[in-house]
Amino acid sequence: MTTSERKTTGEIGGRDHFTDFDLDSKEFSENFDEVVSAVHQGCPVARSEAQGGYWVVSGFDDVRAIGQDWQTWTNTNGYEPTRSGTDDARLYPLEIDPPYQTRWRAKLGEYFSPRAIRSNKDSIRRNVNELIDQFIEDGECDWVDAFAAHLPGRVFFSTMLGVPLDDLPYLQAAADQAVRGPVEDRMEGWNKVGAYLAGYLEQRAKEEPRGDFVDAVLEGVTTDDGEPAPFMHKVFVMVDMLAGGLATTTFLLSGIAHFLATHPEDARRLADDPGLRPGAVEEVIRVYASILSLGRTATKDTEIAGQPIRKGEMVMLSYAAAARDPRHFANPHEIDITRRIPTNIAFGYGPHRCIGSHLARLQALTAMEEMLRRLPDLSMAEGQEPVFSHSTVTRDMDTLPVRFTPGAKETS
């Protein structure tokens, strides 16, 4: 079927994804590309009765327009249907609106700008190579378990937060449990991380300022009542950065490896021509978009692409689907390392666009550079495929068995 034909049924894998969409369903997870193509062709605003009911918006232009219109689409009702919006554990600045949200972004943004991030380059490269050293002699590994699950935490905790090195193993384990442990154990992982971060903030408040990201969080901003932001808001700024930055970057780093392992021609071109690498990273970010969807709630009766939406209803903006909108990308499911995309909707649009996009890009680019240098013949393990899964919000890769010619360690 061509894109000009309108698809009239969303029946794929035993579920009608037009009238009975479920972001968490296995029918979606197992038929991801096909379902995304189908909604683009026939149902830009799909209905779900899961989790109390929500709409799923997939079109690039609709996701962009809603992302920018925070007056009509509030974040204060939570980022997914199961969030109440009155939760004490609100994430800042994700689950608030301008102008309070704007003040936090202004406070935090300078620590994530390309200029600020550049100073982390050597530290990221050292961490990449330390991780590769741990398995390069083996000739095989599960890339997620051996590499992708570890780099983002190392970068965030040691490079951005400056936590003591001795605390890293505990934090890594807790973050790992929160992000990719058994579902029933994840809340316990988040609680451990939150408790640690609260304690770390209290500790840092007593110390001389270092002029870093943590000091900016501690300085804080004023709320819309003109009061200084309470301590708990600052703790949940830290938790938000972690929640937004760990599993997402793990999926991106897994995507980089999966792409290189399955596209040896592209890997050779990238090895020969470093100038192609930033564009290739951008394409991996687009096709392996980590954010499946994030929610907004209508503040008034409105409509999207002709579909009436009532005040109080939640829409899930599918960044991952928008990033494959055939109206914006030819062969949308394919990675074309020569494609040039002006901005990447995988990071969202408007006031809540990913604050850490440049840090994610730098980790992905540095990992790609070192993989091309040290693991040039990376391939999938014989007869193996990656295992994908997803939640309402994130896409994940659970395992990625790869092999390569064994190499020598470079650090001691």
């Binding site: 920018q68 943004g109 390309p114 200029r115 408007g350």
Partner: protein, 65 residues
């Protein structure tokens, strides 16, 4: 109408130039090329300038009527 870009807030997301390419351009690092300056907007581009400013995640672009 004029716009002013706060160079301390611009974080090189590039959404202004993506939304309103006739108004905003980026430097080699992806920052708004007018960061730190006040720029006149021709009348026929005023609506585009407002849209581009609204697209900025950092609210770094202020419109001055």
């Amino acid at each position: 109408m004029k716009y002013v870009v706060d160079s301390a807030l611009c974080a090189a997301h590039g959404l202004c130039a993506d939304t309103a390419p006739d108004v905003f351009t980026l430097d080699d690092d992806g920052f708004n090329a007018a960061a730190g300056r006040t720029v006149d907007v021709p009348e026929h581009l005023e609506a585009a300038a407002r849209e581009g400013a609204a697209a900025c995640p950092e609210s770094a672009i202020q419109i001055q009527d």
